[in-house]
């Protein structure tokens, strides 16, 4: 009796391929860390008092009693000169954007970017300036998100998620 092995082989190959295909690739994304960084950055740009108090009473007095601790100070800041420069620019720009926020001319999108909600009452020149400001702000935000993602070793393809987390801070 002759057994045709061809269908069996094909079935086995299909099962093996299916098993391999079911492997899920997880990309690391530190959402909480991004959220924390976003809160700090946005607060700094907008001049808000940070709610986070990371200096405990013990840390305030430790130089007096625990000299060696200074050697091992844990640093978790997400920052570099580019991020600092971006923050400086955005901070200065925020002063120009603030009246437009107050007038409801601007809208913080869920994508982490700024858009013009309405321009009623503005002259064309003011509209032009506002458009320029929004464009510059969004360019800087795009750079900021990329730098933050890079600092946190987040895959560049996940930058939009960083932006979305920032969006919640911008919208506060």
């Amino acid at each position: 009796m002759k057994i045709n092995l061809k269908p069996i082989c094909i079935t086995l190959m299909f099962i093996i391929l299916t098993l391999f295909a079911c492997v899920t690739i997880n990309i690391y994304f530190p959402a909480e860390q991004v959220k924390s960084v976003a809160g700090e950055i946005v607060d700094e740009i907008r001049g808000r008092e940070s709610e986070k108090t990371d200096e405990s009473f013990l840390k305030k007095i430790d130089p007096a009693f625990f000299i060696g601790v200074a050697w091992a100070q844990d640093v978790t800041n997400v920052s570099n000169p580019t991020i600092r420069a971006l923050k400086e620019r955005m901070k200065k720009r925020y002063a120009q954007l603030k009246p437009h926020y107050d007038n409801g001319n601007l809208k913080e999108g869920d994508d982490g970017y700024l858009s013009i909600a309405k321009t009623g009452g503005l002259g064309l020149k003011e509209k032009r300036d506002l458009t320029s400001l929004v464009k510059a702000e969004n360019d800087d935000r795009e750079s900021l998100y990329a730098e933050v993602a890079a600092a946190l070793k987040i895959d560049p393809s996940q930058t939009s998620k960083v932006a979305e987390i920032f969006a919640k801070e911008w919208q506060k």
Binding site: I67, G68, A70, W71, A72, Q73, D74, V75, N77, V78, S79, N80, P81, T82, R84, A85, L86, R89, R93, I116, T119, G123, L124, K125, K127, R128, D129, T131, S132, L133, K135, A136, D139, D140, S143, A151
Partner: protein, 1080 residues
């Protein structure tokens, strides 16, 4: 009294003598009747000019009978003109009655075979009659004859047979087979065949049966004949009219004395009425029936038709009367009491050319007609009429090409006057009208129109049309227009001059409003004028979806358009459009216009034969603002105007424009010419633009600095002055785009305030060449760059020149001189750019540094002198997507050693914060030279190491991996000052190591020997890591002492991370500290 008696006696005697003599003469001829023949012949000749002869003549007196044959009556001097022959005549007569009242009674009167031949202008011989009243004597003679012979003649039996009457000539008459019988009841029956031909006019009449039967006895004394007249199967032929199968019957009463004929119950039936037009087209009217009562008075020369009724099948039905006076003043009056005609059937009876002309128009249903028409011949011929036509919901339709108009019409049309001055007055109302065509369909609408005038001039005081709704289809879309009102006033029509004038046609609707049209049409002039103010063009454009979705527009406009047809092939036109307060905004607010006021005008001509339009157009703004993306223009300060001419050939699908000039006042002006070919095999676009010599400063400010200052703040620091101009040619052939040209800068200065960057005297001829597809390279475009002075920090002021070569999408810039820098030179190789118009342009060059002194470069940062030079070559240096990368090394020789920088580059060149990166390694650096005299503290020894992944941004290091180690070298002592140890420890650990016992111990020394100093530092994400490179016995040494002397500096925290802020503080402390370490 006696005299009177004598007169009576004499008269009586004379009468007796006369009577006696007359009686004698009569008695003589009675006894000798043969002598009467010459008397009769003479009498006939004298009366008619005809000679009478007999072949045979015999008569008897008792009974009185005449028998004759071969009787001939002819014109003696022209025998062929008139000839009458009677073959046989047999007449028997008798005198009846009392003497003095006798009647000659023909018992028998028989004529067999008689003929009358007339030729030439066949006028019947006239019997000469004396005019005026009879003389007294002739009266006596007539009375005597009647007294002695007979007073009357009566026929008792008459038989005529084989009679023919022929009149030849242009007007030919043949009456043949004449037969007449007078029966015993004295009723006369006549029958014959009749033929009439008028050859020159082509008119003929044939009646095979024509006859009359009298109803009463025929008497010569009684002039009235009553009878029935009939014609059967008659045919009338004419040049444009053929009547066949015509029957007529009527009761006739003819009074010979009064010359009056009355026709009662006159019925004429035309079996077929064949009308032939000049073009040969025939129209057949069947079953035309005329019933009437008529009177013909030859004496009064008039015809009266009473109460006629004329019917043509179901096409035409009329009744009325007709009066015709045929005397010297001819007058015919036709009165139509009622007439009903069916136009759509009547039209079939009209000639084809008229039918064709009327073909687009049809009218159904009965149309009423009544009134009076008359023709009067006085000095001339006058035709008068007073008619009234009435329509009552008659369906009508007009079809022309693909246009159709259907509806119902009611109203009256009156015509009154004397031709040609017939006055017309009409008032019509149409309803339930539907229009379809040109992509438009209306719902039912109404129109009222009134018309007055007379040919050729008519006036229409008013036409009003109300269309509740109509839809327009265009490009597959349907548009609805509601409440359309059209009012036309004071329309004047002159049909002779063929002139139609519509001075005022007002149109309003839910879309277009307040539109006024004027129209003048003549044979040699056709002119239309369209004006409007506040016509709501913008809303109309919205409603018709002519404006893209999401756009907002508002504004008021005034328009004025005139077009005039010159001849038959040329149309001249002018158009003016004036917008005021125009607002416009697209969906993304990327394009906004506010309060724009502009006027645009166009005038030109259309050649209707060749379909060519030539025109000139100009536009000028007066106020307003325009914002496109970030480009803003205040038109009050910088008004825009344009002018140009264009040529559009619709048949060749070609569009050309030239002399087009676009002027942005106080900014720049563009001149353009170009052509466009579409829907042809060689379709394409050619456009040439010329930017006139322009001051560059306002251009830079309006179109670069202001729009982008928020994104590129450095633009605010730039001052630019000079002149700019340019030329560009844009072509699209076979869907391949190409653009090439030159941009020129003349005497342009660029200065960046604050930083000392400036260039002066820039003269640039920058060619550019874009081509969608690289298909071969022809010649290159040549350009040049020359800068009189470049002022950049670290560089001496110097000129710079370069040659520029451009091929499609590529550029080559060949610097013609090196840049001088601090005694050395920077040599730039040829800069090549490829795909420069793509999203991934690539630039490549080569940089060579030649003998550049280190000291001048560092003089601003290090006070003490540093010897050495910098040399090296970077090849290639590539700029791609904002990243500059290079291959090669730059070698510097500071501090008696060697430092090599490799692969320098810049990341994000166009970003606000570009990052400089490079790798570096060094060796044989003399630490003593480096540290002697510095606040850091002296260190002796030889240093080597590397700096990898170095990134520098925003004036600060952003990332690096630093390794520094000393190496032993013969003859070079390795010692380190206490201060340096203190500073290294401070930087590495944040605190001085010289505290407590260590501080006490160190206070005895200024320096210590060391075996090795090794530091590994890195920076990433604003976090420093500082470690020692030597690890022994679970200790990590930064400084390892030499033998038993010296100091070990141990890093007690292997995970030594320091924030950027802390590091700055530490470095600040170190660099600001002038004293020695603090010993605690």
């Amino acid at each position: 009294m006696v005299v009177k008696k004598n007169i009576l006696v004499y008269v009586a005697i004379a009468l007796i003598i006369l009577i006696t003599a007359f009686g004698g003469v009569v008695a003589y001829y009675y006894r000798n009747p043969g002598l009467l023949l010459p008397v009769v012949q003479k009498y006939v000749f004298d009366s008619t000019g005809l000679s009478l002869s007999f072949e045979d003549l015999s008569f008897t007196m008792n009974p009185l009978r005449v028998v004759s044959s071969g009787i001939t009556l002819e014109r003696e001097n022209a025998p062929g003109d008139f000839l009458m022959k009677i073959r046989n005549l047999d007449a028997t007569a008798a005198m009846e009655g009392l003497f003095g009242q006798k009647i000659l009674v023909f018992r028998n009167f028989e004529v067999t075979g008689f003929s009358i031949l007339i030729s030439g202008e066949w006028e019947m011989p006239e019997i000469s009659r004396r005019t005026g009243r009879s003389s007294f004597l002739s009266g006596i003679i007539k009375g005597a004859l009647a007294f002695f012979f007979f007073r009357d003649v009566r026929l008792e039996d008459l038989r005529l047979s084989e009679g023919n009457i022929i009149a030849s000539g242009d007007k030919k008459i043949e009456i043949s087979g004449i037969k007449a019988d007078l029966n015993t009841r004295h009723l006369l029956e006549i029958s014959c065949k009749a033929l009439f031909e008028w050859q020159s006019e082509g008119i003929g009449f044939k009646a095979p049966q024509l006859g009359m039967v009298t109803a009463t006895a025929v008497s010569l004394a009684d002039p009235e004949i009553k009878g029935a007249l009939y014609i059967k199967d008659a045919v009338i032929e004419g040049p444009c009219l053929n009547i066949g199968d015509m029957d007529m019957e009527a009761r006739v009463v003819f009074n010979h004395r009064l010359k009056d004929a009355r026709f009662d119950s006159l019925n004429v039936c035309f079996g077929g009425l064949d009308i032939e037009s000049r073009s040969g087209e025939k129209t057949l009217i069947e079953n035309l029936l005329l019933k009437t009562t008529a009177r013909l008075s030859l004496k009064e020369e008039r015809v009266d038709i009473y109460g006629f009724s004329l019917e043509v099948n179901e096409t035409f039905n009329s009744s009325g009367k007709l009066e015709a006076r045929l005397g010297p003043q001819k007058e015919i009056t036709l009165t139509v009491d009622s007439c009903v005609l069916v136009p759509d059937k009547i039209i079939n009876l009209l000639p084809r050319n008229i039918r064709n002309n009327l073909a687009p128009f049809t009218l159904s249903g009965p149309v009423g007609l009544k009134g009076e028409m008359g023709i009067r011949e006085d000095v001339g011929v006058a035709i008068r009429c007073n008619l009234e036509i009435s329509l009552d919901n008659n369906a009508y339709s007009i079809l022309y090409d693909n246009l159709s108009l259907d509806g119902f019409a009611s109203g009256e049309i009156k015509a009154q006057g004397i031709f040609p001055d017939i006055g017309i007055a009409a008032r019509l109302k149409t309803g339930r009208t539907l229009f379809k065509g040109m992509g438009m369909t209306t719902g039912p609408f109404e129109t009222t129109v009134s018309l007055y005038g007379g040919f050729p001039g008519f006036e229409i005081p008013e036409i009003k049309t109300h269309i509740p709704r109509f839809s327009v289809s265009a490009s597959g879309k349907d548009f609805i227009v509601d409440t359309v009102n059209i009012e036309a006033r004071d329309i004047r029509i002159d049909r002779v001059a063929n002139r139609f004038v519509f001075p005022e046609i007002r149109i309003t609707s839910s879309l277009i409003k307040n539109l006024e049209l004027g129209l003048e049409l003549t044979d040699d002039r056709k002119k239309i004028r369209i004006t409007g103010s506040g016509t709501d063009l913008i809303n109309s454009a919205f409603a018709l979806n002519l404006i893209p979705a999401g756009w907002e527009m508002a504004g008021s406009e005034t328009l004025e358009i005139e077009a005039e047809l010159e001849g038959k092939e040329k149309c001249l036109f002018t158009a003016l459009l004036d917008f005021d307060g125009l607002k416009m905004e697209n969906s993304g607010s990327g394009f906004i216009v506010e309060n724009l006021g502009f006027k645009t005008g166009i005038n030109g001509a259309i050649d209707l034969h060749t379909s060519v339009i030539t025109a000139k157009a100009n536009t000028e703004t007066s106020e307003g603002e325009i914002l496109y993306d970030r480009f803003y223009l205040d038109l009050l300060n910088n008004p825009v105007s344009s002018s140009g001419a264009f040529h559009l050939d619709l048949s060749k699908h070609a569009f050309e424009f030239h002399q087009l000039e676009l002027i942005f006042r106080d900014l720049f002006s563009l001149k353009a010419r170009g052509s466009l070919k579409y829907q042809t095999e060689d379709k394409g676009i050619r456009l040439a633009l010329h930017l006139s010599d322009t001051d560059i400063e306002p251009l830079f400010k309006n179109f670069i600095s202001e729009p982008f200052k928020a994104e590129k703040p450095f633009l605010k620091t730039l001052d630019i002055g000079g002149r700019i101009s340019g030329d560009i040619e844009i072509n699209n052939l076979r869907n391949q785009w190409e653009a090439k040209g030159h941009l020129f800068l003349k005497n342009t200065d660029i200065r960046m305030s604050g930083d000392g960057y400036s260039t002066k005297g820039i003269n640039l001829d920058l060619p550019f060449w874009y081509r969608a597809e690289n298909i071969g390279v022809e010649r290159s475009l040549e350009g040049s760059l020359s800068i009189e002075t470049i002022s950049v920090p670290l560089l001496p002021e110097q000129p710079f020149t370069a040659a520029i070569h451009v091929t499609p999408n590529n550029v080559e810039i060949g610097p013609e001189n090196d840049l001088l820098i601090q005694g050395g030179k920077i040599g730039l190789g040829e800069i090549t750019g490829t795909a420069i118009f793509s999203t991934r342009p690539l630039f490549r060059t080569r940089i060579e540094l030649k003998d550049i002194g280190i000291q001048p470069l560092l003089s601003g940062y290090i006070l003490r002198p540093v010897d050495g030079y910098i040399n090296g070559t970077l090849d290639p240096v590539i700029l791609n997507q904002g990243t500059v990368s290079s291959k090669g090394e730059i070698k510097a020789t500071p501090f008696s050693g060697e430092a090599i920088i490799s692969n320098p580059g810049i990341i994000g060149l166009w970003s606000p914060f570009p990052v400089i990166s490079f790798n570096s390694r060094w060796k044989d650096l003399d630490l003593d030279q480096m540290t002697s005299g510095t606040s850091f503290g002296r260190i002796q020894g030889i240093l080597e190491g590397s700096l990898n992944d170095f990134q520098f941004a925003y004036g600060q290091p952003q990332r690096f991996d630093l390794l520094m180690e000393t190496v032993e070298n013969k003859g070079v002592p390795q010692r380190i000052s206490v201060r340096a140890i203190d500073n290294i420890a401070k930087i590495g650990g944040g605190h001085t190591p010289f505290m407590g016992l260590a501080g006490t111990f160190a206070s005895f020394f200024k320096e210590f020997p060391y075996k090795k100093i090794g530091i590994h530092a890195s920076l990433e994400n604003d976090v420093f890591r500082v470690n020692g490179t030597m690890k022994e016995d679970n200790h990590e040494y930064i400084i390892k002492r030499s033998g038993f002397s010296g100091v070990n500096v141990v890093n007690q925290n292997p995970d030594n991370r320091i924030s950027f802020k802390d590091m700055l503080k530490r470095i600040k402390r170190v660099t600001s500290s002038e004293g020695g370490p603090v010993i605690r």
